[in-house]
Amino acid sequence: MELQAMYIQILALVIFAIGIIVAISRRNLFFVLMGVELALNAVNLSFVGFAKTLPAEASVTGQIVPLFSIAVAAAEACVGFAMVIMIFRNKESVDADSYSDMKG
């Protein structure tokens, strides 16, 4: 019983699924954002897991991409929370369903 590459992928899949569920089924905006973060984390994990199946030099690349994705996640969180603050001030609500002004 050794650690298999597939296990990592399964774990990533489970976490990704949970992240998506959080992002969509919860109505609180904070949970929506956190669900997205969770899903991003799962993707990073998947990257690293796959990277480890590659030989030598190529495996390094698989570990660099998550770095970038973390940076992008940081930017996303920064802007996202700024927007949450603004919308919250206007609407006095963090309920995602109450933001339906764009519905035609």
């Binding site: 899949l13 904070f30 956190m34 940081a74 963090v94």
Partner: protein
């Protein structure tokens, strides 16, 4: 063998924490559970041989980003919303849909054969930075991406300031009106 044991422990913690995020009512609890989940994921990175990435995960994600999240949650006190139910009809529809999708993807995944390569390079700081900052013309050119990420972060910062500033500005005008 030992690695597998560690992996199971960390994995169970990560999944458990993730479920805590799903099930907690207050966002603050959710954020804390998320931090736990991320830290355990960092552990897994270390386990599979990417220690640098694990450290970054802890520092940037669990440290900086989640710090921001908790900060915002605390600032907006009204974030705790008792009126809205945790789950509604939509959720009942989503959960099975996502589970089915995940199952399908998993099913497809299981058909592949994945094995760890024995000659992988551990993602140490040295190795990673050599790859990242390889400026040779024939190299992968990640440094360019790195620059772009810098610009992205800068613009995100500007955007955040802009969003916040308008808000602040309106507050200021309100104050001036009160004075006059």
């Amino acid at each position: 063998m030992l690695a597998l044991v560690y992996f199971i422990i960390l994995g169970v913690i990560a999944v458990g924490a993730a479920l805590c995020v799903l099930l907690s009512r207050h966002p603050l609890y959710g954020a804390l559970s998320l931090i736990v989940s991320m830290v355990s994921l960092a552990g897994i990175y270390g386990l599979v041989g990417s220690p640098f990435l694990g450290v970054v995960q802890v520092m940037v994600y669990a440290g900086a980003i989640m710090m921001l999240v908790t900060f915002v949650i605390m600032v907006l006190n009204g974030a705790k919303d008792k009126r809205t139910p945790m789950f509604d009809g939509v959720s009942l529809f989503i959960i099975p849909a996502v589970i089915v999708l995940a199952a399908m993807v998993g099913f497809a995944l299981m058909r592949a054969t994945l094995t760890f390569d024995t000659a992988t390079v551990a993602g140490s700081v040295k190795v990673t930075s050599e790859a990242l900052f390889n400026m040779a013309a024939t190299g992968p050119g990640y440094f360019l991406l790195f620059e772009v990420i810098g610009v992205l972060l800068l613009s995100a910062m500007v955007a955040a300031i802009f969003l916040a500033k308008r808000h602040l500005g309106s507050v200021i005008t309100d104050n001036t009106e009160e004075k006059h």
